[in-house]
């Protein structure tokens, strides 16, 4: 055992330093920035397009005072709807025949309106390419109603603000649970893929035989697995630190404004790292075994596809636990080894008890032991295939 651990340490140390001190690792660390930047970029563009596309313009043919009443009502409505897109109003002074003016306005490209409101607040009439029961007509109806009622004495709504409510906490914790699962899932998939690539590289540059002659094959397996885990934990530490720093700088209230998970922020962070490690060790073992079967990148892609698809399905299954961590589905997800870390990280965000995590970690550790041992045995049998081998079902017959 000492020899196995010492050898695994030598292999792991090499892989860890080679990974962390490589240029590729900088890109790995910058990885999470790309979705954020892309999201911001396309989100901004999308918002602009949406704001232009979803805010139809309505020409209001009415005296200035009437227009002011309608505009004021629109502002109040917009505020209540949290600035969601509402109709835009364009003031047009009445000129002669209202129907003719409305017709001219609809044809004119100057104002680019979808409809024209005439008749003031007493006899409002909307003309345009709109549906009578549609959103635009509904909004105009509301604005007219608001404008007409503006003078009446509606009772002022007294509001008492509390810091949080059960509904708001549940909602924010569900979001935290969802984020935790997504981070675990994507990080594990990326890292398992990276471990696989490294193994294939070693097989192709023949280093694997040098290693296999010097140390037990199981040590190569364990060393590689834990080296990538350690590298990923470096990544997580960097990301979390950068995230907290960014929140402190850009969000009012700093890190304290982030919704607190049910188990508490620090325990949640620790549990997330541990569950990530568990998830990665389970999936990484499977991927390394796959890598041992394959000798080319193409073979790896073919072989790892079913494992990736299965992992996506498991992710979907685990997501069902969000919002109802005590449901039979969630308990089943926590019991199934491959979905257990994902389900439990979500539970940590939503339920305060710690003991289920201890039970789950023991359960997952047992499975990791079994999967790692089985995978290492398979790895040993197949990583150094020599001479002619039996044709495998995935290999096509030569043409």
């Amino acid at each position: 055992m000492t020899r196995l651990l010492r050898s695994a340490w030598v292999i792991g140390r090499r892989d860890f330093t080679a990974t962390v001190f490589s240029k590729a690792f900088i890109f790995f660390l910058l990885g999470p920035l790309f979705p954020v930047l892309l999201g911001a970029l396309f989100g901004g563009i999308g918002a602009r397009v949406a704001s232009q596309a979803e805010q139809p313009r309505i020409a209001v043919v009415a005296p200035h005072a009437v227009f002011e009443q309608l505009a004021s009502a629109r502002d109040r409505l917009g505020q209540a709807m949290n600035d969601r897109p509402t109709i835009q109003l364009v003031e047009v002074a009445p000129q002669g025949n209202a129907d003719v003016q409305a017709d001219d306005l609809l044809k004119s490209s100057r104002h680019s309106v979808v409809a024209v409101l005439t008749g003031g607040l007493d006899k409002p009439h909307l003309t345009g390419a709109i549906e009578p029961d549609g959103s635009i007509a509904g909004q105009v109806q509301l604005l007219v109603g608001q404008a007409r009622a503006a003078g009446s004495s509606a009772p002022a709504l007294a509001v008492t603000a509390t810091e949080k409510s059960s509904g708001s906490v549940d909602r924010s914790r569900s979001i935290t649970a969802q984020m935790g699962q997504m981070i675990l899932f994507f990080l594990t998939i990326i890292l398992a893929g990276m471990t696989l690539s490294q193994l294939i590289e070693e097989k192709s540059n023949k280093v694997i035989e040098v290693l296999a002659a010097a140390v037990p094959i199981e040590a190569i397996f364990v060393g590689k697995l834990f080296a990538m885990l350690a590298a990923s934990i470096v990544g997580i530490v960097v990301w979390v630190s950068a995230g907290v720093a960014a929140v402190s700088m850009f969000m009012s209230g700093g890190a304290g404004s982030i919704p607190t998970p049910a188990v508490g922020s620090i325990p949640f962070l620790i549990l997330t790292v541990i569950y990530f490690a568990m998830n990665y060790l389970l999936l990484g073992s499977v991927f390394l075994s796959i890598g041992a079967q394959a000798s080319t990148v193409r073979e790896v892609q073919t072989l790892s596809m079913p494992a990736t698809v299965a992992q996506v399905l498991i992710f979907g299954f685990a997501a069902l636990a969000i919002g109802s961590p005590d449901s039979p589905m969630a308990i089943a997800g926590a019991l199934f080894p491959l979905s257990s870390p994902l389900v439990m990280v979500a539970r940590a965000a939503e339920r305060p008890e710690l003991w289920p995590h201890l039970v789950a970690l023991v359960w997952q550790a047992i499975w990791i032991g079994l999967v790692v041992a089985g995978s290492a045995r398979l790895f040993r049998r197949t990583v150094l295939k020599s001479g002619p081998v039996k044709r495998r079902w995935w290999r096509r017959s030569p043409a």
Binding site: V10, A18, N205, K206, V207, L384, S386, G387
Partner: protein, 314 residues
């Protein structure tokens, strides 16, 4: 860690068999490598040399048979006393030469610090000192091969196993490698190497195993291999014909004015007497010891020999 007691044999293998699916790559290989000797595994590509070496080193397990390496039934237990240079050289391209050698030492139980120190010394001795801090990918093929060889011996092993170590080296580096092998052997290290270049085995080895189609066709001392053939007599006479012709074998062949034939079992003296008495008028007579190549042809067969010479034009 307790080291196994040194014994007469550094490596012993009995009836090793290895099957890959329906193909038998190694078929009943038995061999014994004396401690401190230079031992050659000869055979054409595909003969089963690499598989035999991998079995001996514990990289793969035999389908049947047993092996004992430096007193251990499980070769991996003796890993810190073994250095191995595989046929397909493997180094991390981004790793610096010094670190690559130290890493290979660390795999065999040497500390990284000590490994780096020894790496510097070895690189200096082999004229590669200026490359110590440069990545492997910047080295020529021959230099990278030398670095890997240094990584094979950095931990001062008691057994060095080299799979086709001369492949890909130019004449100067081949000579250097031969000298390195001799130096290690003089220090008491056992060296096993596989080759399909008979000349290297002839110059270096005390014992050899000739492997063909997964089987050991011969195993023993180089002299014993040569002794499987009778010495060759090259005779030039002044007399073209006469009673002396009865003294040479019927299958003697004539090459120009020279007769070539195997020395009769009775030895040189009766032959000489018969030639003189028969009036041959001996101009020249040479008795040549057969070379390892001749022995290889005789043992492994002309097809295997032809395959070897096709692989190596040297």
């Amino acid at each position: 860690m307790l080291r196994a007691q040194s014994s007469e044999w550094a490596v012993e293998a009995t009836d090793l068999v290895k099957d890959f699916g329906d193909t038998r790559a190694v078929d009943g290989v038995s061999l014994a490598v004396p401690t401190g000797s230079i031992y050659g595994l000869l055979g054409p590509n595909g003969a089963g040399k690499t598989t035999t070496l991998r079995i001996l080193l514990g990289i793969i397990d035999p389908s049947s048979g047993s092996r004992r390496v430096l007193g251990h039934d499980r070769p991996i237990e003796a890993a810190s006393d073994i250095g191995y240079l595989p046929e397909e050289r493997g180094l991390y391209p981004a790793m610096h030469c010094r670190d690559a050698i130290a890493f290979m030492g660390a795999l065999r139980g040497l500390s990284l610090g000590e490994g780096r120190k020894r790496a510097d010394t070895l690189l200096e001795e082999h004229g590669l000192a200026e490359w110590a801090g440069k990545p492997i990918r910047t080295l020529s093929k021959g230099m990278a091969q030398t670095v890997q060889l240094l990584g094979t011996i950095v931990h001062k092993p008691r057994l060095i196993v080299l799979d086709e170590p001369f492949a890909g080296l130019d004449a100067i580096n081949q000579a250097r490698l031969e000298e390195l092998i001799r130096t290690e052997a003089r220090g008491g290290v056992t060296v096993i190497f596989s080759t399909h270049v008979i000349a290297h085995a002839e110059r270096l080895c005390e014992r050899i195993a000739i492997i063909a189609k997964g089987k050991v066709a011969f195993e023993g001392a180089v002299d014993e291999a040569r002794a499987t053939l009778r010495p060759i007599v090259r005779l030039r006479t002044r007399s073209a014909d006469g009673p002396w012709r009865d003294a040479i074998p019927a299958d003697a062949r004539q090459q120009g004015a020279e007769w070539i034939f195997e020395l009769p079992p009775s030895g040189p003296e009766p032959l000489l007497k018969a030639l003189i008495d028969g009036g041959a008028g001996i101009e020249t007579l040479a008795i040549e010891r057969p070379g390892l190549h001749d022995a290889f042809v005789a043992i492994a067969g002309p097809k295997a020999a032809a395959a070897m010479s096709q692989e190596t034009p040297q």
